[in-house]
């Protein structure tokens, strides 16, 4: 077992294993909602898991529209729920 990496999600401390994506680490912590949609404010999370659907969008270190299922967690990463299109 490798050691855990610390990051935050909406200010809360989270743990990930090395090599895990943001989406996988959040699902492991039972955190399913990653964003809310622009018009109907519906909750969305990981759907395709391989970078195709763009439903898992989060804000990472201030940059929005990033796919949680693709991006590997790094130490100290600041991840936030994306609200709408994060204009």
């Amino acid at each position: 077992m490798q050691s855990n990496i610390e990051f935050t999600f909406d200010g809360q401390k989270m743990l990930a294993l090395p090599g895990q994506s943001v989406g996988a680490a959040l699902l492991a912590a039972n955190q399913r909602t990653l964003r809310t949609t622009r018009f109907n404010e519906n909750e969305r999370g990981v759907f395709c898991g391989i970078g195709i659907c763009f439903d898992c969008l989060v804000v990472i270190n201030g940059v929005g529209n990033q796919r949680a299922c693709l991006i590997e967690v790094t130490a100290g990463m600041n991840v936030q729920t994306q609200v709408g299109s994060h204009a």
């Binding site: 699902l27 399913r32 999370g45 990981v46 759907f47 395709c48 898991g49 929005g64 529209n65 990033q66």
Partner: protein, 461 residues
Amino acid sequence: MHNVVIVGAGPAGLSAALAAAAAGAPVLLLDSNQRLGGQYWRNSSEPIESQKDQHFDLDTGMLLMNAVKARKEISVWNGAQIWSASHKDGVNTLRVLHQGGEKIINTANLVLCTGAYDRTLPFPGWDIPGVMTPGGVQSLIKGHGVLAGNKVVVAGSGPFLLPVAAGIIKAGGQVVELLEANKSKRWLLSPLTLLENITKLKEAFYYIKTISQGKVRARFGVAVIAAHKGVDGKLESVDVATIKRNFKVKKTRNVKCDVAAIGWGFTADTSLAGALGCKLKVARDKGVVAEADSNQQSSIPGIFVAGELTGIGGAELSMAEGVIAGISAAKFVGCKVEISRAHKKRRAKKQRFADALIRSYPVKSGWLTWLKNETTVCRCEEVSVGNLKYAIEELGATDSRTAKLFTRCGMGLCQGRVCGRSVVDLVAAELNISPTDTDRISAVNRPIISPIPLGVLAAGE
């Protein structure tokens, strides 16, 4: 000698790289994944030997991946996403995001092995968190060691549902239902092909053994037709229906679950091939694929295509095509090498199996009756069935392209990868016409291969 540039390091790309290198060509192999293996041999950062129980045949994968790493003629760029590409006067320009910056590759010679992704169908509630694709659930396990939930319903159609269900059970999860929409008898349509491809039968039995240990029995002629959320907004249950041969509902029951993995086979990822201008065509399963000649060359000389990109057929067909594409590419850059008859024979045998698959797991139009007016079709732009009907009935759209323009359906960030194929069928059904090949091909037209957030490019410079 020029480099052979190969995009995609799955079964097709790995085979192509080894074949081209063996012929003496220097190879650059690119993949957006952090590790080699593609979808079939997706693996995590844990030691690879410890991951064998999530695979039927990781040994073959390890053999290819180790050989690729060992060959000095092959350079590998992992974590390299091609986000834009164009073709002009025989030169292909690829814009690649790699190691935090953008690199530009100009090459006359390319092998595209970009694979496929899960085909999905819209249904009421498919946008609730917890409804996922089978490939998504599997990639979380294989690539990240994470189970998406504890009580999983696996449903849809196709042999891929078996490894997904087996993988969930091996990872310690519970498969509460395993539902195949088609009848198992359909395999009797192709007895000779089954016997000829006996390793495929072995693979199926390997998964079925694990699945029976998980105390689930596959049900046939059954589908998930709706999903419901609980008070917490997350998936709580699905409606499971016994369906007729044409997929129309006979009888429904409700099943509690926290994840529903639902997929209907695969759709080829033609984004890169399309952006370069390679000719696309409609395959027998009505999916759009890249056209290839008998040497795996696309309509553009110097661009070769292999694997699921040229038609859905599984890892073994992808490998057989990859070898031929790699040899063809090496030949194109001046290596003295020929494609043998054995290579073509092997490809033909795997192709017969792929054809049998398509006959055995059709998606019948009755799925359209599962939809309601408020059902979301385009997840990105939040376009509903009702919005599309309005575009047709009130605004006068007479094909899917116009309906798209009126509603923005398929024009969000995924550029119609998820809904495009279904929208073509839905609009045609609404208009009472059959979709043309032009309708289907225009639905996969994507100017950008993968939209990159503004801040990412800027930060990398």
